[in-house]
C-alpha cells in the first residue's frame, strides 16, 4: 500500500505557510501604514498565546502498553531497563501523563475518539454489542448507558486522518492467528455487535494473544463499517495472500521505505507483549518456548525488537515521533502521595485505611466524567472519587525532542488526541469546531507544547548519559521533588495559553 497521500498534508502545510506569509505581510503593511501597530492589544496577546506550532513531524508511531503506573515502569521496581533506563536517554519522559479511566477499554476509546468512559467500556465490554441509546450529548459525547460499539456518528482520529488524506495504519499483534476468532480483514472485530452481540470478546489464547479490547478500531462503526479503513488494520507481521484477499503488509515491511510507511501508526502488542498478562498464554518474544513470563519483562522484549527497527527506518529519521504510553495505571502509585480522604467503601476493609494504595491525584487536565458515569476511574483500587486512570508516564522520541529530558506538564489521553489532531493539521469539525473530537476539544486543554518539542531545530543529538536526568532516583526522593530539566510553571486561569507561548518550555 502506498502512503503518498502524505503529499496532501505537505501541500496543505505549504499553502498554509504561503497564506500565513501573505496575511502577515498584508497585516503588517496595513498596520504600519495606519500607524496602528500598538493598538492591537488583546488580539495580539491572544494570537501570540496560540502561536506555538508543533514541528514538522511526518510520521508517528504510538505504542500502547497495559496497566502500569509510573512507579511500576519508570522507577526501577520491575527492572525493565529498556523502557525504564534506555529509552528515556534517547527522548523525553512525561512524568505526569495520565490515563482517563479504569479499566482498559475506556482508555483506548478516549485516545481514539475523545469519548469519556461509560459503564461497559469501563468493564472491558463483557458483551460486544452496540452502544445504547447512542444519542448525542454535550461536548461531542454520546449517551452510552450500555454497550461499547459506538454509532457511526462518533468520529475517531482515524476518520479525521482519512478526511485529511493522511495515511494511517493500526498494527495488531497476533490478530487473525486463530481463524474465526476475530476477523483480520474486518478491523479485528470479534463478531456482530448488533442485538445481544458477542459474549466475552476478551482473553488471550496460547496461539492468539490478540484481544479486541486493546484494538481501538473495533469499537466504532465509523471505522469498522468501512472496508477501506479495515484494510488499514493489519496484523503486526502482516498476512499472506489468501482466497479473496491480497497479502497484507506488516510493520517491518512497511518500514522499508518512506513511501510505504504510514504517517500515523498505532501499534498494539498482544496481551503478553503489552505487559498485560503476568504469565503469557503463548509466546513472549524471548525465543524460548518454555519462557512465558509476561509483564514489563515481555514488553521490554517487544520494545527492544521494534524500537530500533522503527528508528532505523527512513521514515523515522525523516521527522518521526515514537510515543510509548500505557492505557491506565494499576497500583502501585504510592510515590505521588496518599490521599488524606481516601475512599472508604471498599469491600476489603484493609483498603479503607490512610495507608492504602489510593491517591487523590489520579486525573489531570480538568478531566470531565462525561455523561455516562460519575466515576471514570471506577474507584478502582480504593481510589478517591476523582476521575482518571492514574499516572502512567510516557516516553517520546524524536529528533525534535532533546534526549534525556523530562516534562512535568500534565497530559492525558485527551491531550494526546488533541496533540495528534494538531500535528496533522486537523482544524475542522470536532466538538469545538477546530478539529478536536470529544473531550480533546475541552477549552484550554493543552496539547504537547514546547516542553515536549524542545529541540526545534531537529538537529540530531547524542543520547543523554545514563541516569543523568534523575529519572531513576525513586529511592532518593519523591518524583515530584526530583529535578526536571523542563518544568514549566504555568498556573492560574491563563496556564493553558501561557504554556504555549514561544519559549515557554525553556
Amino acid at each position: 500500500m502506498s502512503f503518498m497521500k502524505l503529499r496532501g498534508i505537505r501541500q496543505s502545510r505549504t499553502s498554509a505557510r504561503r497564506l500565513y506569509r501573505v496575511a502577515a505581510l498584508s497585516s503588517a503593511g496595513v498596520l504600519a501604514a495606519a500607524g496602528l501597530m500598538a493598538s492591537s492589544g488583546a488580539d495580539q496577546a491572544a494570537a501570540s498565546a496560540h502561536s506555538f506550532h508543533p514541528p514538522k513531524i511526518k510520521h508517528v508511531w504510538l505504542f500502547v502498553l497495559e496497566n502500569k503506573s509510573y512507579e511500576a515502569s519508570f522507577t526501577g521496581l520491575n527492572q525493565n531497563s529498556y523502557l525504564w533506563k534506555t529509552l528515556p536517554q534517547y527522548g523525553e519522559l512525561l512524568r505526569q501523563y495520565y490515563g482517563t479511566g479504569h479499566y482498559s477499554l475506556d482508555n483506548y476509546i478516549s485516545l481514539a475518539s475523545g469519548q469519556a468512559p461509560a459503564p461497559d467500556t469501563q468493564a472491558d465490554c463483557p458483551q460486544y454489542k452496540n452502544v445504547s441509546p447512542g444519542t448525542p450529548a454535550a461536548d461531542g459525547q454520546v449517551h452510552a448507558t450500555s454497550g461499547c460499539v459506538y454509532p457511526r456518528s462518533v468520529q475517531t482520529l482515524f476518520n479525521q486522518l482519512d478526511q485529511k488524506q493522511v495515511g494511517w495504519k493500526a498494527y495488531m499483534q497476533d490478530m487473525g492467528n486463530t481463524p474465526g476468532r476475530e476477523n483480520p480483514y474486518g478491523c479485528g472485530i470479534p463478531g456482530d455487535p448488533s442485538g445481544n452481540g458477542v459474549p466475552d470478546p476478551g482473553g488471550a489464547t496460547a496461539q492468539d494473544q490478540y484481544v479486541a479490547k486493546h484494538n481501538p478500531t473495533a469499537w466504532f462503526h465509523s471505522v469498522m463499517d468501512n472496508p477501506k479503513d479495515c484494510a488499514r488494520v493489519a496484523p503486526l507481521n502482516g498476512l499472506p495472500a489468501s482466497a479473496g484477499h491480497p497479502a497484507v503488509s506488516g510493520l517491518a515491511q512497511d518500514l522499508k521505505s518512506e513511501k510505504t510507511t504510514p504517517a500515523f501508526s498505532w501499534i498494539t502488542p498482544n496481551n503478553c507483549s503489552d505487559a498485560h498478562d503476568s504469565t503469557c498464554k503463548g509466546d513472549n518474544g524471548s525465543g524460548d518456548p518454555n519462557n512465558h513470563q509476561g509483564g514489563l519483562y515481555a514488553s521490554d522484549l517487544f520494545l527492544q525488537k521494534w524500537i530500533p527497527q522503527i528508528m532505523a527506518s527512513p521514515a523515522f529519521q525523516d521527522g518521526g515521533l515514537i510515543d510509548i504510553t500505557f492505557d491506565e495505571a494499576f497500583p502501585p502509585y504510592k510515590l505521588y502521595g496518599n490521599s488524606t480522604g481516601d475512599y472508604t467503601g471498599n469491600s476489603d476493609p484493609k483498603l479503607n485505611t490512610p495507608t492504602d494504595t489510593a491517591q487523590s491525584v489520579v486525573a489531570c487536565c480538568n478531566e470531565l466524567p462525561g455523561p455516562n458515569t460519575s466515576q471514570p476511574g471506577d474507584q478502582a483500587f480504593g481510589q478517591d472519587t476523582t476521575p482518571g486512570g492514574g499516572i502512567t508516564g510516557s516516553v517520546l522520541i524524536s529528533r525534535y525532542i532533546k534526549p534525556g529530558t523530562i516534562s512535568d506538564q500534565p497530559y492525558n489521553h485527551y491531550s494526546w488526541l488533541r496533540s495528534m489532531e494538531d500535528l496533522f493539521h486537523i482544524t475542522r469539525g470536532g466538538a469545538d469546531g477546530h478539529g478536536h473530537l470529544g473531550y480533546a476539544g475541552t477549552p484550554g486543554l493543552r496539547p504537547f507544547g514546547p516542553d515536549v518539542y524542545n529541540n526545534p531545530s531537529g538537529r540530531a543529538m547524542q543520547p543523554a548519559a545514563l541516569g543523568s536526568n534523575g529519572v531513576y532516583s525513586a529511592t532518593s526522593g519523591q518524583p515530584q521533588d526530583q529535578p526536571a530539566e523542563i518544568a514549566p510553571d504555568f498556573t492560574g486561569a491563563s496556564a493553558a495559553q501561557d504554556s504555549l507561548k514561544p519559549g515557554a518550555g525553556k
Binding site: 482498559s104 504469565t279 513470563q293 502501585p332 483500587f381
Partner: protein, 195 residues
C-alpha cells in the same frame, strides 16, 4: 520553418528538430525543478544528521548472587548463584493466574489465585532449596501466605529442583524473595494484573 510554425502544442506531437528542441527545454526545466525540489525536500536525516538508535542488549545480563550480596530482578529473570558449596542459576516465573471469565457489569476481581514456579539449576556441587526460605510480600509490605507443592529438594547438575508456590494475589505490585541462612539472596519484582 514549418516545424517552428506548428506552435507548442503541435510541436509535442510533431516530429523533427522542433519537437526535440521543445522536449530538451522541458527536460532542462524539469531537471532544474527537480534539483530545486531535491534541495527543498531533502529529508531530515540528510540535513540534520542521523538520530542515534538504542540497540537492544546482545544477551540478557545475568547478575550473580552470593552470601551477603543479594540481587533484585524482574520476575522471569534468572539469577546466577555462587554459594560456595555449589553454583547454579535460579529463576522464578509467574504468577500464572487463575482468572475467572468476566461477567457483564462487574469490575475485574481484586485478587486471584495463582502460582509461581521456581527452578534451580545447579552447575556445580549441590544447592538446597526449601520453600520455607521464600517469602511473598504485597505492595503494602504484608506477607502473602503460600503453599508449596513439595517440602524441599536439592539441585545438582543432573537434577533441577523445581517448586510451585500457590497463593492468592492482590492486584498490584508484589515481590518474591529467597533467603539463605537468614539472608536474602534474590528478590523478584512483579505486577499482578487482574483485568
Amino acid at each position: 520553418m514549418s516545424n517552428r510554425s506548428t506552435g507548442r502544442g503541435r510541436a509535442l506531437m510533431g516530429r523533427g528538430h522542433g519537437r526535440r528542441r521543445t522536449v530538451s527545454v522541458l527536460l532542462a526545466l524539469a531537471a532544474l525543478t527537480g534539483a530545486a525540489g531535491c534541495s527543498e525536500n531533502q529529508d531530515d536525516a540528510s540535513r540534520l544528521g542521523q538520530v542515534p538508535i538504542p540497540s537492544a542488549p546482545a544477551s540478557p545480563i545475568v547478575p550473580t548472587a552470593s552470601q551477603g550480596h543479594a540481587q533484585l530482578v524482574a520476575m522471569g529473570d534468572a539469577v546466577a548463584l555462587d554459594l560456595g558449596t555449589g553454583q547454579g542459576r535460579i529463576t522464578a516465573t509467574g504468577p500464572d493466574l487463575d482468572l475467572p471469565a468476566p461477567s457483564p457489569g462487574s469490575a475485574p476481581p481484586e485478587r486471584s489465585k495463582g502460582t509461581i514456579t521456581v527452578r534451580l539449576h545447579a552447575t556445580a556441587g549441590s544447592v538446597d532449596l526449601d520453600p520455607a526460605t521464600f517469602a511473598l510480600t504485597d505492595e503494602l509490605g504484608h506477607a502473602v501466605p503460600f503453599t508449596a507443592d513439595r517440602p524441599s529438594a536439592t539441585a545438582n547438575p543432573a537434577q533441577d529442583a523445581v517448586f510451585t508456590l500457590s497463593a492468592v494475589f492482590d492486584a498490584g505490585h508484589s515481590t518474591l524473595s529467597w533467603s539463605s541462612a537468614g539472608k536474602p539472596l534474590a528478590t523478584w519484582d512483579f505486577e499482578v494484573e487482574l483485568d
